[in-house]
Amino acid sequence: MFCHNAWLSQIACVVIRMFEVRFSGRKVLGLLLVVSALFSAKLAFAANPLYTLAASLDAPTPSTARPAFKLQLPDAGFERELKIADLGFAEGAELGALGGTQTFYFPIARAARYTGATLNLAYEAATPLAGQRSLLVLVGERVVASRKLLAGSDAQRISVALRAEDLRGDFVKLSVRYSGLLGDQRCFDARRANDSLRILPDSSLQLNVAKESLSQVQNVLALMPSRVAIGMPERVLSEAESAAVIAAIRLFRQRGQQIEVLPLAQLFAKPAATSGSWRRGVVAVANAADLRSLQSTAALPATAPANVSSWLFADGPGLLLSGSDPQLATNFLAARWAGAGEGRAFTVVHNQRSALQGERISFDQLGIASPVLDVAEQQSWSVRINARDLPAGRWPVALDLDIGMGADGHAQPAVANVFLNGRYLDGRIAAREGITHIHASIPRGLIGLDNELRVVLQRQPTGGDCRELSPAYPAQVLGSSSLQLSESATPDADFFSLAPHASEQLTVYLRDSLPLASQAQALRSIGLAAAQLSSAAAPLQVKRVSAAQIDKLPAAFIAWGDFDFSRNTPPLRLDQGKVLLATREGRELFKLEPGQSSLLAQVISVSGQAAGVWLHASGASADWPQPEAIDLDRGNVAFINQGGVATALSTERERLIEVRYPEAHSWLDWLERYRAWLVVAAWLLLTLVVLMALRRMYARKQPHDQA
C-alpha cells in the first residue's frame, strides 16, 4: 500500500517498502508493495525538494549564489521525439512476401498531459513487378493512414497528427500492415514475390508534453530522451554516491539510452540556445551542499536514505538522486513496481529482493510474455532470455516449451520448430488438441548472456493453389514454458556466467587512490559493464580499498584499477609487459603496451568459476576509450576501444588465437617462442650422439670381424 497526498500540500513523501513473496504453488513470484507514510507539510516545507523545484520552475528567488541566468521550462512545454531506432530497431524494420504486420510500442508517460502528438512514418518500398500493394497504418486499433504502394522503388514519409485518445496508457501502439498481390496471378508463392517494405529507423512519434507534466518523476522517467547525462559533483564521491552513479548508468543503459557522465556544474550551465526540444535527459547525484553551491535555493531532506525528485536542469527536466544511499532510489525505479512511486518526489527507504530458486524456472517467472498471434501459414515468436534473470548457481540444461494453438478444424497439423541463438533445438508436429509440449536439451555452451529463443509455427496447405486456403488460428508460447536448470551445468568462466550472481548483489571495488580526474570515466565504464552483467534493480555495493589484493572475493564483483589478482591467475597478465594477441601462426591481431591508452576487461575466477570482472585502464585518462556500451558476453578477456568491445576471447577455449607476452621472460613463454629451434637443436644433438655411437659400434665390430 502506498499513499500520496503530495499535490494538495505540495509535499509527497512516500516511503515504499518492497518485498516479493510467492503467492502461488507454481512458484510464480509476485510483488507486494507496502508501507507508505505521509508527513506533515509544514514540518518538511523548508526541506522539501518539490518546493524548491516549484520555486525554480516557476519563480526562483534571487540569491547571491544563483547563476546569472534563469532556468525555466518553456510555457509551451517540451517537445519529445521518440524514434523507432530508440526502441531497438536501429536498422528499421522490413516486411516482404507481400504481407505482414510490424508493431511498435512507443513508451509514453501515462500521467502526462500532451498538447500535441505527431506520427512520422518514413518508409521505402520496392518491387520489380507491377502489383497491387498497400500499406495500412494503425495507432492502437484506429487506422490513421493508408497508402497504395507503387511498382519500382519508392520512398515516402507519412505525417499524421494523433488524437488525445491515442495517447492513453503506457504505450502508443503503432502497427504497420503490409499486403499485396501481383497482377492477375491469383495464386503464387508469395515467398518468392521479391518485394520489400522497409520502415526507416528515423520514423518517430513526436510528443508535445505539457509544462506541468514534467514536474512528475514518473513522467520524466518515462519520457527521458535517448541521450542521458549522469551528473555528479566534482569531488571524490562517497561509496554510496558512487554506487548511485553506477546504478543510474546501469539503469538507463539497460533502457537503451546513451550515457555520458558530466560534472554537475555543467548541467546547470546556461544553454547555448533555448530550445523547446528535449534532447538530453539528466540524472544527477548530489547532496544539498552540492546543490546549494549551484543554486542557493536548493534544499533537500537531510536524513532520508534515498530521494528521487524531478528537477530542472539546463537541458530540461531531469531527476535528482540524493540521500545517504541514493542507489536505493535507482533500484526502485528499475523495479517492476516503479510505477508505485508518484509525485514530484519520493523517498525510498528499503528495497528487498527475493531471488529465484529451484530446478525449474517458468517464462512467467522470467517475465516473458509472448503475444497471441494468428497463424495462417507461418508465424514466429522471438523470446529473449537474459542470463541476468537466471538464479545464481544453476544453468539451463533443457527447455520445456508449451505452445497453445487454437483449433481450426483443419486436417493437416501444424509443425513447431524451436531455435535457440540460431541453432535448431527440436521440432514437433503439433498436438491436434490441447497444448503442444516440446522438450529439448540445451547443448552446453549455447546459452550466453542475451539469448534469443525463436519458435516457428507453420502449416503447409495440403491442396496447394488457393482453393484450400487454410484458416488462420491463434497461437501463443505459454508462460508455463520453462527452463530446466542444473547445478552441475555451470558454464565456463565467461563474462556472461557472472550475470546470475551479479543480479543478486554486485560489489564494486575501487582503489582509494583513484584520482578525481579519472573518477567520472571509471564510474561510467563500471556502470556500462554493470548494465551488461547485472539487473538494474540489483543492489550495488561500492568499496574503496587501499590494498591491491582483495582478501575474500564476493560472488560477483567488478574491480577497477591497479589490483593484484595474481593469486586468481587472471587470463591476461598485465605485469608481464607488452601483451600481444596473435594467431597461432604469429600474425599480430592486437597489441597492448604499457603506457598505451586502453581499457581491458577480464574475468577473475575463484575455483574455476567466474567471480568478477576486472576493468583495467592504462595510459592517460583523457585518452581512455569511452564507448557507448561495453558488451561483455562470451570470453574471459575483452579488449575495449572507442567502438566498444573490439575483441573478446576465451583464453581457455580459444584455439586459433593466443595471448603472448613478448617482453615476458618466463621459461614457458621462452619455450613456446623458440620451440621449433629447441627441437631442432635437440634433434641435431641426438643425431650427433647417435652417429658417434654408431661409429664406435662399427669400430669395435671391425677388428672383431677381422679376427
Binding site: 591467475t569 575455483s607 574455476g608 583464453t651 581457455e652 620451440r675 621449433a676 627441437v679 631442432v680 635437440a682 634433434w683 641426438l686 643425431t687 647417435v690 655411437a693 654408431l694 659400434m697 662399427y698
Partner: protein
Amino acid sequence: MTKPERLSLSAGTPAANAPRLGDVLLERGLITPAQQARALDLSRSWRVRFGEVVIAMGWTKSLDLFRTLAAHLGAPFVDLLAEPPDAALLHAEDAPQYMAQLLIPWRKRADGVLIVATAAPGEETTAFIARKWGLDVEIVITSKFDIIWTIQRSFDRIQSHDAVHSLSERDPLMSAKQIITPEQLIFIYALLSLLALGLIVSPVATLIAANTIMGLWYLGNFIFKGLLVWHSEQAQDAEGDQLSRAAQALRDEDLPVVTVLVPMFREPEVLPILTHALRNLQYPRSKLDIKLVLEAGDHETIQAAQALGLEGIFEILRVPPSHPQTKPKACNYAMRFARGEYLVIYDAEDKPEPDQLRKVVAAFQRSPANTACIQCRLNYYNAHENWLTRMFTLDYSLLFDLLLPGLERLKVPIPLGGTSNHFRLDVLRELNGWDPFNVTEDADLGIRLTQKGYRVGVIDSTTYEEANVAIGNWIRQRSRWIKGYMVTFLVHTRRPIHLVRATGIGGALGFTFFVGGTVLSALLNPLYWLMLLLWTLSHASGFERFFPPLLGYLSLFNLLAGNGAFVYLSMLAPLRRRWVDLVPYSLSIFAYWGLMSVAAYKALWQLVYKPFYWEKTQHGLSTHTAAELAKAKAAMQEGNQ
C-alpha cells in the same frame, strides 16, 4: 715324492678280507662308534658312500678321510698342492669331466704309464679311466679339495675367460655385452626424430598422440597385472598341497645331488645364517654340493668362511679377478665346478624353507620335460622392521605370490628372482649360464630359457631374505634391478619376430608389459604426478589442450581405477599369507612408487654411463639379521659340542 705302486684297474675297492672303512676310521680314532653306526645307517638310507657321509656330517676332516681311504685301499695318497700334476697332461676341455669324476691325470711315468689321482675311487671311476686313457694306468688317491683346487689353478685363465665371454662369444645376440645394437639405435633414433618432427609441425596433436599411447600403455599394464593375479589365484593352494605331499614321498636314496651356489662379496657377517639354514634343509647332506663363491680379492670373507670350519660339503671357490666383477660372472665360474644334477643359487643371508630342495626335485619330476628352472618364492623375515621393509614385503608378496604364478599359467616368459631359482645344470651349461654383463642376470636368464624353448615353473616354497632397511641401500639395489630390466628389455627385443615366434604373441606382450612396463611406469609416473600436482595446486590452465575429453577420461580412469587396482592387489598379496597387519600399509604405496621412480632415473643414468656397474646391496643392516646371526651361531656351537 713317494713312488706310487701300480694298481690294477680293479683297484678302488678294498680286498674282500680287508676291514671296512668305518672300522679303520674308528680304529684310528677319527670317528666314534656312534658316528660309525649313524654313518652306516645314513649311507644305506642315502645310498652314498660311507666316507661321503662322515665328511658331509663334519665328523672327520676331509684330508684324514682320504689318507685313511688310501691306506684302506692300499694306494698311495698324493698331496696335489705339494706335488702338482704335469701341466702337459691336463686339457681344459676335459675339466668338466675331471670335476664330475673327481679325478685328474697326475703324471706319466718313464715307462709311459699314466698316473691318475682320484678322490672317488671305485668301479665307476675305474671304468671311466679305462674308457678315457686305456688300461695302462695307475691310480693314486687324493682329496676332493686337492682335485678342485688343482683344476681351478690349472685352468684359471681359461675358466675365467669362459665365465665372462662364454655367452657373448657363442650367442652374441643374447648377450648384453653390447647393450644396444646399431639396428636398435637407429630405430630409437627414428622414433625420436618422428617425435621431434611432430613437435615442430603440430606440437599439440603430437603430445596428444604420445599421451594417448601412454594412457593405453598404462591401461594395458593395469589389465595385464589384473589378469596375472586372476590366473594365479586359480587352484594355487591345491597345487601347493599336492607338491608338498609329493616332496615328502620322495626317498632319500632317489634324491639327486644338488649344487648350491652362494655368491658373496664382502659380507662375511651373514655367512653363518646361510650355513645354518643349509644344514637344516631336509635333504641328504652328502648330496649337497655347496660352493661359497668368493672373489679372490675378498680376503675378509674368505678368512671368515675358513674360520667357520665348515663341513666337507662346503667348498670355497675363489673367483679370479676380471671385468666385469658381477655376481653372474662369479656364478658362471662356479658353475664349471658344479657336480649336481640341479643347481640353485642362494644369497648369503637367505633362509630357504627346509623342504625346498625336495619340493623342487618333486616339481621337476612332475613337470614337463622341457622344464629347466623352478623358481621359489622370496619374502622377508624382517618385514615388520620399518615402513620400507613392510612396503618391500608387500612388493615381493605381490610379485612372487601373485604375479609370477600368473606369468607361469599364461606362459609368459618369467623374469627370475635373484635367488632360489633351481636349474637343471645341463640346460644351464647348454645356455652358457648367466649373462655377466647383465645386472639382473636372473631375469634375463628366465626370458632366455623361454626363448630357447624351455619352461620355468613356480612353486609354493619360500626363501626368506633380509629386506633392505635403509632407503639409500634400497635405492641402490632397486636401481640395479631396474637397470637390469632395461638391459633385459633391450636384449630380448633385438629380434622381435623371433621373440613372438618363441614365446607367442601373449608371451611377447606379457614380456613387454612386465619388464618394459615396470621400467616405463617408474620413469613416466613422476611426469604425470607433476602435471597432476601443478594442475591441482595452481589451477593452471593449458593442460586441457593435451587432454581432450576421451583421453581425459582414460587418464582419469588410469589414475583412479588403475592405481586403485594396484593398491587393491598390494592388499591381496599379504592377505594370502595372513599378514593382515601389513594390509593398511598398501595405502602408502604411492610413496614407495616415488622411491621406485628415483631408482628408475638413477638406473637410466647408469645405463648410459655405467651399464655393467654392479650396485652392491649391503646386507646385515637389519636388527633381525643380527638376531638370526646370533641364533645361527648358537646352533653351530651346539652342534660342535
